[in-house]
């Protein structure tokens, strides 16, 4: 079920009051919320509910087994098996075709005929997200950071529908303790929840969809039909589109969880205001960044093995991060660009004689500009279907200046300005809006929210495009 649909609105109108009514009795609430989440997931394809259930049972069984063992070797073996099982499922559903076609094509390139048949595997929605959450659960139990919880609570943690299909990637330590005691029905942060849902819907339905249909799809579909200005603005538009799409989805997810009484971690913090690529990764998809840091970068050795090993670990982490986003070499290239930028930044700061200069407004503006260009350059590979297509975009960017622009309209520029400008708003502004909203009488709050829904529905296109991150 997509969040901005009538079907989901009806589903949530049923789940919200029932959840609060059952909340005081955990033994009733947990089966209810797991069942509701399974219904939510089955709306996409009921067969894959079994996969989600299997993931719950598998990770819970291994977490308990690891926790009960004291022998370090056995614990390590169990952990390895648990992680391998998770990765095998992810590998089969997400990477089987990629592996088979890449192998086949490598042999074909070498002139060796080894016919491998691709299998047309359906990618279950959200598999990357719940697999990563399952891995973090067993690893945290192994590290002793977290004691295994009961099966009902773990099932509620892993399948909780607001985060199920596209995150945020919530760590066990963040959500399971909230499942230990009933949420207090007297104190719900409704104003923040409604603010997040309304802004999320606006960013997804209006900004992201408008940019996709007005410029991005055309520029990336046939770049040689458009001027360099169209292509340049199209690349910036894609940067805003993907941000608005994922930021919008995450806002809605966090807002829905808040209405149900649960807190999710923040996933974005004005990423296009970053002053370096390292800073960008502290602000973009933050729950994935810290997952990669804690479960890939640090286990690889982090920055503990000297400069060269640190560079290697950074690069490997970003390559894997790229591959996580999609089973394609263009995603690996996207990760490689970010990895190279991170290594370059670290080398610059590590070099002998480097002295950090005091930051000025101009220097920060310049760093933001450069960082944004690097990030946008990487987005070309993320969006393009192939390296040839990415190359076409880059060539066109430099070879068609002076040709008339067909796609750069006032609406496109306004949507880009809103997408980027919103990241430079003073932090107190949304807080003040939420505080003001929270003190309005209940009928006025309902009327205000309905006006926001009017704007979103009237300005959005007919139908709703899937969220970009569903495919990851």
């Amino acid at each position: 079920v997509l969040f901005p649909t009538a079907t989901f609105a009806i589903f949530f109108l049923v789940v919200l009051p029932l959840s609060w009514l059952l909340m005081p009795r955990g033994e009733r609430w947990r089966p209810f919320i797991v069942a509701a989440s399974f219904v939510f997931y089955s709306a996409w394809d009921w067969r894959f509910v079994l996969l989600l259930a299997a993931s719950i049972v598998w990770n819970q069984a291994f977490a308990l087994a690891i926790h009960r063992r004291s022998d370090a070797t056995k614990r390590k073996r169990l952990l390895a098996l648990a992680v391998a099982g998770n990765l095998a499922v992810l590998g089969y559903f997400k990477y089987a075709d990629f592996f088979l076609t890449s192998t086949n094509n490598a042999f074909a390139w070498a002139g060796v005929d080894v016919p491998l048949e691709a299998r047309s595997v359906i990618l279950p929605v959200g598999i990357s997200f719940f697999t990563f959450m399952g891995i973090s659960y067993v690893v945290d139990v192994y590290r002793g950071d977290f004691a295994p919880t009961g099966l009902g609570k773990f099932a509620a943690y892993l399948s909780f529908f607001p985060h199920l299909v596209a995150g945020p990637i919530v760590r066990p330590g963040e959500l399971v303790p909230q499942l230990d005691s009933p949420r207090d029905p007297r104190y719900v942060d409704t104003s923040r929840a409604f603010f997040l849902i309304a802004t999320g819907l606006f960013m997804k339905v209006v900004i992201s969809n408008h940019l996709a249909t007005s410029i991005v799809d055309d520029v990336f579909g046939a770049p040689n039909q458009y001027s360099s200005l169209d292509v340049l603005v199209g690349i910036y538009a894609y940067a805003v589109q993907i941000y608005a799409d994922f930021f919008g989805y995450t806002n809605i997810a966090i807002g829905l969880a808040l209405l149900l009484g649960f807190q999710f971690p923040q996933n974005f913090d004005s990423p296009y205001a970053a002053v370096s690529v390292q800073d960008f990764w502290r602000r973009w998809h933050m729950t994935l960044s810290r997952w990669l840091r804690d479960y890939v970068y640090i286990p690889l050795g982090g920055n503990r093995g000297g400069r060269l090993l640190t560079y290697r670990n950074l690069m490997l982490t970003m390559l894997l991060g790229g591959l996580w986003h999609g089973a394609g070499w263009t995603f690996v290239a996207w990760g490689a660009i970010h990895g190279t930028a991170l290594v370059a930044e670290r080398w610059w700061h590590d070099r002998p004689g480097y002295v950090a200069r005091p930051s000025t407004a101009w220097s920060r503006a310049w760093k933001r500009f450069v960082t944004f260009q690097v990030v946008c350059f990487a987005w070309i590979f993320f969006r393009a279907d192939s390296f040839a297509d990415a190359w076409d975009i880059i060539v066109r960017l430099f070879t068609a200046w002076g040709e008339p622009s067909q796609l750069v309209t006032g609406g496109v520029l306004l949507a880009i300005a809103i997408g980027i400008g919103s990241q430079y708003l003073p932090r107190h502004l949304p807080l003040a809006v939420m505080a003001r909203f929270s003190r309005l009488p209940i009928p006025v709050q309902a009327a205000t929210l309905s006006l926001a829904l009017l704007v979103v529905h009237a300005l959005g296109p007919e139908g709703v495009a899937p969220f970009i991150y569903f495919q990851f």
Binding site: V188, D218, L431, I442, E462
Partner: protein, 353 residues
């Protein structure tokens, strides 16, 4: 949570303030605000909500949605609650978004097919061949491939970006009315070539915009369905060719669902016969075997000339990947080279000697 029942609370809760001075509210008020906000939003957006209900697939969900949204729309209009939405739509330049137009206006008498094929028309950089690509969502990828392919051509140009409308077709003008759009674009853009692809959303028995007194008896593939679908296909072909354009109609591909493929075959057979009646002005491009595997069945990956596996079809088993689009675009260009003289201008332009 099992044994953590709340104490009975008889006192009125004290006000609590969250981050930034936000007042926290009760779960009850969350339910009330959510319910009333959604209810009022439905009234404010009633014209759009009613249209969404109307253009759904036939079935009980549509019937139920229409039964609910019809009175809501009337109430909204009676109370002038629809006016803010209409104002916003007008402001965005989309004032007719919520209109439902099911009129199917097509020429009823086919134009006569010339006995001898028309001579190849010479195309020059001064008189470029203007191409318009339109259809349902299936046309988007091949259309973009075609636009890329003619990108460097001095004698061909697109009249606009690819006009692919998701979920549209010839059965349901209420979703999108191509019978109104195509004549409009023919008059406005005057394309020399039109590339159309329809049918992926037409493999059902439910049609809107039927002439008075006509009904579909027996559903998809029945005699009455075929007669009406044939009238619409032939009518669009005549609309385009009478507008002065050469029409390439791209047929539906094999899919990963054999039942759907059989329905697509039924639509393709209508396209073939109608195109055949208009030979020389309409060309049907059969795509079926482009994407079949060695066993003749559906294949998501197809080996290219070098033996490398290339992904041709999207994960849904219906839509195209870029490589498939390129393949179709090459075939369309081949048809255009057969129908038009696209190269002699080079000889004319070359300096003597």
């Amino acid at each position: 949570m099992a044994d953590e029942t709340h104490d009975k609370r008889t006192r009125k809760p004290r006000g609590r303030v969250g981050e930034g001075g936000r007042k926290l509210h009760s779960a009850g008020s969350a339910v009330v605000v959510t319910t009333f906000a959604l209810g009022l939003a439905v009234l404010l957006n009633a014209p759009g909500v009613h249209k969404s209900a109307t253009i759904q697939q036939e079935g009980w969900k549509r019937d139920l949605a229409l039964a609910l949204t019809g009175p809501l729309k009337e109430t909204s209009e009676a109370l002038y609650l629809d006016q803010p939405r209409r104002g916003l739509k007008a402001l965005a330049g989309r004032a007719d978004d919520d209109d439902i137009d099911t009129g199917v206006a097509v020429p009823e008498t086919p134009a006569e097919t010339p006995v001898t094929p028309p001579p190849k028309r010479k195309i020059t950089p001064d008189r470029k061949l203007r191409i318009w690509v339109a259809g349902d969502s299936l046309v988007i990828v091949p259309g973009q491939s075609l636009l890329r392919a003619i990108g460097g051509s001095p004698v061909m140009e697109p009249v606009s970006e690819v006009d692919g409308r998701i979920a549209s077709g010839l059965e349901r003008p209420d979703v999108f009315n191509w019978f109104k759009e195509i004549p409009k674009r023919m008059r406005k853009d005057k394309p020399g070539v039109v590339v159309l692809m329809f049918g992926a959303n037409d493999d059902h028995g439910f049609m809107t915009g039927l002439p008075p007194g006509r009904e579909i008896e027996g559903g998809f593939g029945s005699e009455s369905w075929e007669a009406e679908y044939r009238r619409r296909v032939g009518g669009l072909m005549d609309t385009v060719t009478r507008g002065g354009a050469y029409l390439v109609w791209v047929g539906l591909p094999i899919t990963n669902d054999p039942a759907q493929t059989a329905r697509f075959d039924a639509i393709n057979s209508i396209l073939v016969t109608e195109a055949d009646k208009r030979r020389g002005r309409v060309s049907y491009l059969d795509t079926y075997f482009f994407f079949a595997g060695p066993d003749g069945g559906y294949a998501e990956y197809v080996a290219n000339a070098r033996g490398a596996l290339v992904k041709m079809r999207a994960d849904d088993g219906v839509h195209f990947e870029r490589a498939a689009g390129d393949l179709i675009a090459r075939q369309v260009l081949k048809r255009l080279h057969q129908r038009f003289d696209l190269s002699s201008w080079r000889r004319d332009a070359a300096p003597d000697g």
